[in-house]
Subunit: 536 residues, 2 copies
């Protein structure tokens, strides 16, 4: 008999934790879901799950862009998927509100059981210039952006006539020597060196791929002998590994190192920073260093029926008493345990405590080699690579994807890497930039496409005056703007602007500037006055 009100289970997050919770619940609650006594919902910003371990291969295009990701709908056909942004989690009223879709009204999703599997987010907060100029490496869009940046720099290097600028364009820096940084640098190194073959007039010997690592040996997650193997292999392939070196900041033209050194580059990839999801940070529950504290059953002590798994939860292994590491293997096992415990509590059966010992660790080093530690065995080179591919192919969800990836890998053995640069980004409108003291923002005579507003710091405006040379016309500070003349008149820049201190700027492009300032009369008045005053 169908009850009047079904039990509503709501899962937040479409990563390994969230999707595997839904998968397990669909299996265990088959009858209840069919009869409508249980309703299963999942909220995810994207309609797909990213198979993170394969993300680095998107850079080189050795697997198709869409093949690292699986549509959640296909995996969990009995789950209602809400492809929306979560706005607020209300644990007291047991309700989650999600942002509006095409309409303008947001929506409330009440729950009986809630699973929080929201993971971490990347954050460059506190490191000068990284948010503006470093490329993060966590989501699928990030991998595509890295790929496009590499191709773009090769394109430019091929036609650049200034040798210093060309060397800067051909320098690629990855910060962070853990698993994801090492896999990324291996793929970037392979891709850059293979793709360079398709470019005319590109001095291949000027290509530099640099890995920055804060410790004395890369891959601290692995036993020393494997890490040393990986380090030797990468160096042999041409990766310049800088140990005990930390990234401190960035400008558009350089990676800034702790201690004051700088590496001139236009491609800085950083895998290091992550911080708690802001939604988790807003939650009023017990946390430890930003992670939700759960009991042995993965339930929140103060909120029965609310559960957490994956990177956003602090989970203590019931046997080893150690905190569970933030890996996909663990998230998957946590999700299964959690789903079983939800079913147990629905049926009034006893719940089980979470404990899992990782089967092994693997890292791809590109070019048909890898390092792995499985069941205590250490493996490296081609065998490890073969194992890596096989295990991931087995774990890749969905038969469609298995076929597609296997095909990609086969084609990749025959065909050259793809060098198409797929730009789907719309023009930005407004962006932020960071400058070190003494950097040129633009030069007299340049074509001007941006208006700048000083957020903090100080810049000087310089003009070449006959018989006096380069002369400082004025200095500008927070809240002041420059560059507006080139935007309203279509003339080249009438002066050079250089930073005097560390400077953060807001840059507004021509289109956004004209749209805003031609339609808002008070702003137009302000800029007309400013231009008049400066022309005097």
């Amino acid at each position: 008999m169908k009850s009047a009100q079904p039990t509503r289970i709501l899962i937040l997050g479409g990563g390994f934790g969230g999707v595997h919770t839904a998968l397990t619940l669909e299996k265990l609650l088959k009858r209840e879901l069919r009869e409508g006594t249980v309703e299963l919902g999942l909220v995810s910003r994207e309609n797909y799950m990213v198979f993170q371990p394969m993300l680095p291969e998107v850079i080189s295009g050795s697997i198709g862009i869409l093949d690292t990701i699986t549509p959640i709908r296909r995996l969990c056909p009995a789950t209602n998927l809400y492809t929306r942004t979560i706005e607020k989690i209300d644990l007291e009223r047991r309700c989650v509100s999600v942002a509006a879709g095409f309409g303008s009204q947001h929506r409330n999703l009440p729950f009986d059981h809630l699973v929080i599997a929201l993971g971490n987010v990347t954050s460059f907060a506190g490191q000068a210039g990284l948010a503006e100029h470093a490329l993060p490496f966590k989501y699928l869009g990030d991998a595509l952006a890295v790929r496009n940046r590499i191709i773009h720099t090769l394109e430019e290097a091929a036609i650049e006539r200034d040798p210093e600028m060309r060397r800067t364009l051909l320098t690629f820096v990855v910060a962070g020597g853990g698993f994801s940084g090492v896999e990324a640098v291996a793929e970037i190194n392979d891709f850059v060196r293979a793709a360079a073959g398709s470019f005319r007039n590109l001095p291949k010997d000027e290509i530099r791929v640099i890995l920055l690592h804060g410790g004395p040996l890369i891959l601290p997650e692995l036993p020393q002998s494997l890490a040393e193997f990986a380090q030797r292999l990468l160096m042999k392939r041409g990766v310049d590994i800088r140990l005990d070196t930390r990234l401190a900041g960035a400008t558009a033209e350089a990676a800034l190192l702790a201690g004051g050194d700088r590496i001139a580059t236009r491609t800085l990839v950083s895998t290091v920073p992550s911080m708690p999801n802001p939604l988790v940070a807003m939650l009023d529950c017990k946390k430890d260093r930003g992670r939700i504290v759960v009991d042995d059953h993965l339930e929140l002590p103060d909120y029965p029926g609310v559960w957490a798994a994956g990177d956003c939860a602090l989970i203590t292994d019931a046997k080893s008493k150690e905190p569970a590491p933030p890996t996909a293997q663990h998230a998957t096992r946590e999700a299964r345990c959690l789903a079983e415990n939800i079913v147990a509590s629905l049926r009034g059966e006893p719940k089980r405590a979470f404990s899992f010992h990782a089967l092994g660790k693997m890292g791809s080093l590109g070019h048909h080699s890898a390092v792995a530690e499985v069941f205590g065995l250490k493996i490296s080179g081609f065998l490890a690579w073969w194992l890596w591919r096989t295990v991931y192919l087995m774990k890749l969800p969905g038969l469609d994807r298995k076929i597609r990836v296997a095909t990609d890998w086969t084609l990749d053995l025959i065909l050259r890497p793809d060098i198409v640069q797929l730009k789907t980004d719309k023009p930005v409108g407004i962006r932020r930039e960071h400058f070190e003291p003494g950097q040129v923002v633009f030069r007299e005579g340049d074509r001007g496409d941006w208006l700048y507003v000083v957020v903090d710091g100080e810049v000087e405006v310089l003009k070449t005056i006959p018989e006096r040379g380069e002369t400082c016309l004025r200095t500008l500070g927070p809240g002041e703007c420059f560059g507006e003349i080139a935007l309203v008149s279509d003339r080249p820049r009438s002066a050079t602007v250089r930073s005097l201190t560390n400077v953060n700027l807001l840059a507004v492009d021509r289109e956004a500037f004209q749209a805003l300032f031609s339609n808002l009369p008070p702003l137009r008045g302000f800029f007309e006055q400013l231009i008049d005053a400066r022309n005097k």
Copy 2:
């Protein structure tokens, strides 16, 4: 012996015309290019050439996103490729200037011979709301945007509770019944109906795919019997074809038809409008309806050494005396003739006049069928589809691509269509919107994420007041703004705003608003005063 100064041939445009000119020149001038007596350059905004005929298949994902495009570098290894935006063509000084790359300085490229093959651009100018709300269909990015929009509307329809809104979401409109419109609507129809199978709670019978066509029969390019075959076939597959119906405009929620009717939809694809490339429009040479007039040898009469081919040129066939149609077949033949004539003029040999009779016309109708007219024969159905695939596979440049596309097509016969929505777009910052009279911009109580500036037209601000009901507080016109309170306070919208006339708005999102107005003191002052005044 090497001459002091090589002859510089510069090609503008990376479409069929430009790339085939470079291909032919590389073949004919092999020795000169090797010896350095001739230099070949090509300027293109993208580093790839799009194989336009396969673009519709990107919508359904039946070929990989990257497989419709071929890197120009691979095709033309002896050509210097400049992946830059062209700023100006100076025919007098024989020089082209291109925009800055990573640096801030633009660059001048002088030439001895210039080939203009810049094609057309899409333009919705003059049709109210189309630029803001219709999806164009010309470039690769457009095909991806259409695909993402379709998946997004299906996602939303699956969780929408308002039946009218759901029907709107499940309505897909394509405007233009020529080749590209018909191929697009065929792919959209197949994809929507196949993908819908993966969605729970989606009433399949509410899906409507509509084709608008201004004439009495679709595919005016083809003989009547083939066009009738195609029309019957599409109708059988569920496409609702509206003949003698023209698109007049659009809002975010509807396609507006000439005559006053409207079709509620969130997905309007328009293939119709194109206009001359602005760079061509700026050229000071003889033109006819925006196209560059060339002589029999495809050279500009007033500028020896300057040539034009493809859609941007008005070319009269030397034999038939008819203007050459704007198709890929013709652009390819024109490019070859033009390249041969450049070589002839370098060698002081006689040039040849252009003449070409099209071999045939083909259009895909999706789902393993097509229509074709080849050497005067009319073919339809599966045979035409097989012919279509084979011919295009042969024409697809590069062996890599041939293998990849053949593989895709084979997998497509086995696997289900992919429903992953790949969002790589950054947040927009600033956008334009168009409203008909009486449309609601936002409602009291909605969450507010945008500030609006009235560009033209008039809106009314309405508030529900106890005992008086919905009351008009004020009306706003050009240059006035609304919606700022929700952005500075994070409270829901305090009033409803509705259009009184046709209205064009500029919408600024929360992030752009906060960045601009917290950093520019005069603007902050302006908005603080405005908010004070409205709160009184």
